[in-house]
Amino acid sequence: MRSKAKTKVKSTIVFFLCVILIGFLAYSGIYGITFGGYKLKPFSEVINRGLDLQGGVSVLEEIQGNNVDQKTMDRTVELLSMRVNKLGVSETVVAREGQKRIRIDIPGKFDAKEVIDGVAKTGELKFVGPDKKTILTGKDVKDATASVDSTNGNQAVINLELNQQGAKKFSNATQKFMGQTIAIYLDNEKLTEPRVDAHITDGRAIISGKNQTLKEAQRQANLIKSGALPVTVKPVQVKTIGASLGSNVLPLSLLAGKIGIGLVMLFMILYYRLPGLIADIALTLYVYLVLLAFATVNVTLTLAGIAAFLLTVGMAVDANILIFERTKEELKSGRTVKASVDAGFRRAMSSILDSNITSIICGFVLYNVGTGSVKGFALTLIIGVVLSMFTAVTVTRTLMKLVANMGWFNNKKTIGTFGVHDFRKGLVK
């Protein structure tokens, strides 16, 4: 008898420690905690929000031409990233999508044309002589800046500083084509075609376009400076999500999530009583773990992701429901509480495993075939299903066993009787 009393005390202590720990984690996740010199930020500050939750521009660029090799692709992505970073916006995404497409997501920018002109142009600079031969390209440029030329009617101009090789080529060309014209192209669009008046040896050139603003000149200078993309790209999909839409959606979805999860928790307690409360504790940990995973793996949360997350909440609860229904059947068939809890878990396991694995299969197919928001949805689904299995199987099980040891299940009020199905029901021979 003494050892039984001992397990009871021990189980009670461990149970409450678990509850306090989970409560502490939940608190830190919602409000953040400052501890000594360290600060644990709340999830709302750490998790990346997708474009649809904060507004911005999304452009899908397609590389023209076939047979794009890995190196060219990497170089293109790198160059595009460099240009995007110049915009000074955080949380931008430049990612490869499929064989020859690159997605550029820029939150907080709402002028799609500006993004396309400033970032998504090839940026191929060419100086072409009267003999149609290319003299210089962007590769010969060391630096490009924009300024206002006060001597020439306050026109905005692009100042080029050529590298050694470029300066030499330019020097030769200006000598050769004295009195003739040199055409300057950016992405096959003729910017200007000045006449060569002097032999230029210092490697400096000025491009004065027609009536361009300083802002435009600055943009072109940046394109030239960052270097031309090794390929021609074309925007095949452009999407702008307004700021108001994005900022409205997030608080609403958070509210929806809170109400939804709250109602589910209430339902579980009303229907399953004490086991329901245990499921709710496990669910709290589940929500914490999923958000933690989002923060560590750098998942970008989108609307579709929130939908998937809520769906997995349903699946996490389902594992608990399966276990409880099974436990109740065992109880009805006359086993002791502890034996029923054990048997309930064992028998529910094959259902839980098979059903979750098929969901994971579905998630993998979605992840590999889908693009954009569908991919995010799939990733959320996979993370959710795996973690939900973990919390349902380990946390619920541990807590159920502890509570059984504490003797709290021996009272009919705590475990409830409705919703019970007799295991033998329907099996009469």
């Binding site: 108001s244 939908a307 579905c362 075939v369």
Partner: protein, 293 residues
Amino acid sequence: MSGIYKIVEKRKIWFTISLIIIVIGIFTMATKGLEYGLDFKGGTIIEINLGTDFNKADVDNIIKKYSSDFQSNKANDKSITIKATSLTNNEVSGIIKNVKAKYKKSSVTNQENIGAVIGKETRVKALEALVIAIAAMFIYIGIRFEFSFGMAAIISLVHNVLVMLSVYAVLRVSIDSNFIAAALTVIGYSIHDTIVVFDRIRENRKYMRRADPIIVADASVTQTLARSINTVLTVVITLTSVYVLVPSVRVFSEPILIGVITGCYSSICIASPSWVLIKRHMLKKGKKSREVT
């Protein structure tokens, strides 16, 4: 034998209900076709909030300068939605600039421009995803259970997709990648549901080897009924709160909601009866071949 729901025994009722829905859906699809969303056919969509009440004809006049073939819709007094077959980016920014010049308070809430090639590709890929997912599940169930369960599961999955498509065809809601993602979720979820029942059938057959498949199936469905309904209830609770509170995700929460309820119905009323039919057919065949040899 008291307390068993004779769901499988009354299978003809369920099959008829589903058949009626699907036939109506297929008829609508055949006559009117399906409404494809922007990302499935390509094109341009611009949503502008003008900030004040406006005259739609005035805005239409601006758009006419850039597009000869467009549709515009006035929504909640202050917003306009413009749909057109693929405009260039310059045309789009021209429209926006001109509208902004006329209505000072206006702002773009949503704008999308999708090439026709991408649209077709997305459509093909989506179909590919559906087929691969269904095939992968068939293989998994075939290995973990047996062929008859795999077949029954596929029947119920195809049933779910057809019902979802039918609802969309009849209500004229457009089908886009959100729909496909939703359909795949529903497939994943309803198979989740169905497997629990099948798992029970598999288990019960150990206790009642000689019983008719109908009796085993009905007993299993009855035993898992509370769980099936409670589970779907929890998902319906969370999804409904999203549906009500976040209107902009309705494109997503709506098909999932329809699908999850369909999935629950099919895992109870379609999957197990289908298994019974297949199993009976196999048993009959087995007997015949035994008689021959």
